[in-house]
Symmetry: C2
C-alpha cells in the first residue's frame, strides 16, 4: 500500500483545530477513625482526595487532582502520573467514569476531561504521611438524594466545608447526567464529576469485586463489611454479609489478636 504511505507523509495533523485533553481522578479511601469511646470499634468514613488550586483559574478553590495528557501516554497513565505528582499518592486501581466535554466547562478554552475513579488503601496513605498544611487533603464525603430528587454533595475537611447541589438529568439510557446548581466551592465542573464518580463506585461495589481494592492483602471480614457499608451507605447484618462474600474470599490461618473481644480470622481475596 504505497498510496497509504504517501497519504500519511502528506498528512499534517496540525491543519485541524484540536482541543486539549485532561484527566481528573476521584481518588477514594476509607479512613478508620480511631475509637472515640472506650470499648467501641472504629468508625469508617469515605474520603475523597482534593487539592487546593494554587494558580488560576479557580485559584484557592478545591479540585480533583489531574492534568493535561502528554504525548505517548494513555489517559490511564496520565491519570496515575498527575495524581502522584500533585498529591504524592499512587492509586492502585483506576476505573473510567466518562468524558466531560460541555463547551465552556473550562474558562481557559476548549478542554475535554476524561475522569476516573480510583481507590487508595489506607495503608498506602499512611506511608505517604500527609501534611496538614499540604495542598492535598482527604475530605469526608456525603452524597444523598433528597425527596425532590435533588442531590446534595458535602465534602468536609477540618473547618473547610464544601456543599454542592446538583440535579440529575435523565438521558436516553438509564445513566443520568448531573447538572450543577451550586458548585459549593469546587473548581470547574468537578462537583458533577464527583457525583458521577460516586454513582459509578456504588454501582461497582455491588459486585463484591471492587471493594477489595480498599484493603490490604489480608483483612478481617468485618473490615471488608465496613468498606462495603461505607461505600454503599447501607448497613448489612454480619451473618448475611459473611454468607454473601464467602465465595469471594478464602481463609488464612492468621488472626488479629489483642482487641477486647474474640480474635478475628484474616481472609484474603480468592483468585477465582
Amino acid at each position: 500500500m504505497d498510496s497509504e504511505k504517501a497519504f500519511l507523509s502528506e498528512y499534517n495533523i496540525n491543519d485541524y483545530e484540536r482541543p486539549s485533553l485532561t484527566t481528573d481522578v476521584a481518588a477514594f479511601m476509607i479512613s478508620t477513625e480511631e475509637k472515640q469511646n472506650e470499648r467501641k470499634g472504629p468508625d469508617n468514613k469515605l474520603r475523597l482526595l482534593l487539592i487546593k488550586r494554587g494558580g488560576h483559574p479557580f485559584k484557592d478553590m478545591w479540585a480533583l487532582p489531574g492534568g493535561f495528557l502528554k504525548k505517548d501516554e494513555t489517559i490511564e497513565e496520565c491519570a496515575l502520573r498527575e495524581t502522584f505528582e500533585e498529591t504524592n499518592v499512587m492509586p492502585t486501581a483506576l476505573m473510567p467514569v466518562g468524558a466531560f466535554s460541555k463547551p465552556g466547562r473550562d474558562p481557559r478554552g476548549w478542554i475535554i476531561s476524561n475522569a476516573f475513579v480510583s481507590i487508595i488503601t489506607e495503608e498506602s496513605v499512611k506511608q505517604v504521611g500527609m501534611d496538614d498544611a499540604s495542598d492535598a487533603q482527604w475530605f469526608s464525603v456525603s452524597f444523598d438524594r433528597d425527596d425532590d430528587g435533588v442531590y446534595h454533595l458535602s465534602l468536609e475537611y477540618e473547618d473547610v466545608l464544601l456543599k454542592a447541589v446538583l440535579a440529575e438529568e435523565k438521558t436516553s439510557f438509564g445513566r443520568g447526567e448531573f447538572r450543577i446548581i451550586d458548585n459549593g466551592g469546587l473548581a470547574f465542573d468537578h462537583a458533577a464529576i464527583i457525583s458521577r464518580a460516586l454513582t459509578v463506585l456504588r454501582n461497582e461495589a455491588k459486585n463484591y469485586d471492587t471493594i477489595f481494592d480498599f484493603l490490604p492483602e489480608k483483612f478481617t471480614l468485618t473490615a471488608l463489611q465496613r468498606v462495603q457499608e461505607t461505600i454503599m451507605n447501607v448497613s448489612v447484618l454480619p451473618g448475611n454479609f459473611r454468607r454473601m462474600v464467602s465465595s469471594y474470599v478464602e481463609e488464612t490461618d492468621e488472626y488479629v489478636k489483642g482487641e477486647r473481644h474474640r480474635p478475628a480470622k484474616l481472609f484474603r481475596r480468592k483468585k477465582q
Copy 2:
C-alpha cells in the same frame, strides 16, 4: 477576582501540544429476517453499522462511523452528527463505552477516541432505506469466548466476512481490556472498541431498561423478548420473561392481527 481575568487574558492554549479527539459509534440494530419456512416466526439478528473507508488510512477496510470533534459541541453531539453524516442513520440513544488512547492506535498521529454504543430501531432504518451499493452496511454480529478465553468477533454482510480475534487483559477493576490479536479487516483498533461496546451493551441489557430503545413505541412482548435474547445470546421461557418485564411495561388496547395464530396485545414502556 481581577487577577483571574488577567490570567485568562494572558493564557494561550496554543502554547501546549494537543491531541486530536474523535468519537466512534457502535450502532446496533435488531433485524427481523423474514420467515424462511411457512408458518414459522421471524428470525432475529443483532447487526452493527459499519462503513467502508473511502480514504486513507485503512482505505477500503471497514470501520465504525465517527469523526473529529468540533469546537462548541459535546462528544455526544459529535457522535450523533458524524453517524448521521456518514450513514444517514440518526441514533436515538447513546451510551458511553470508554476512551481509547493507546499511542500508535491511529497512524495519522496523536488521536484519542471516545466511543459510544448506540441503538437504532428497525423502523428508522427502513425509513432511510439503505442502498446495497452504499458504503454503509449492517453487519450481522457474533461474539463469543472460546474455551481458552480467546474472543472471536465475526461480522458478516453478504459476501464480506470479518473475523477478528482478541484477548482480554484483566485490569485492576473487573472491567477487562481487549487486545487485538487479529483485526480481521477492521480499521484502527475498532475490533477492540466493538468488543468493549458489546460487553457494555450486554451488561446494560440485564436491567430491562436499554432494550426498549430497539423497538418502536408499541410492541408485542414476544418482540421485546427476541430483542433481549438476541443481545444477550440466551433464551428464556416466554412465561418467565413476561413476568420479569411486567413491571416495566403497560398494556395498550391494540392487537396485532393477521398472523396465523392468536393475536398479540401491544404494550408500551411504562413511564415509572
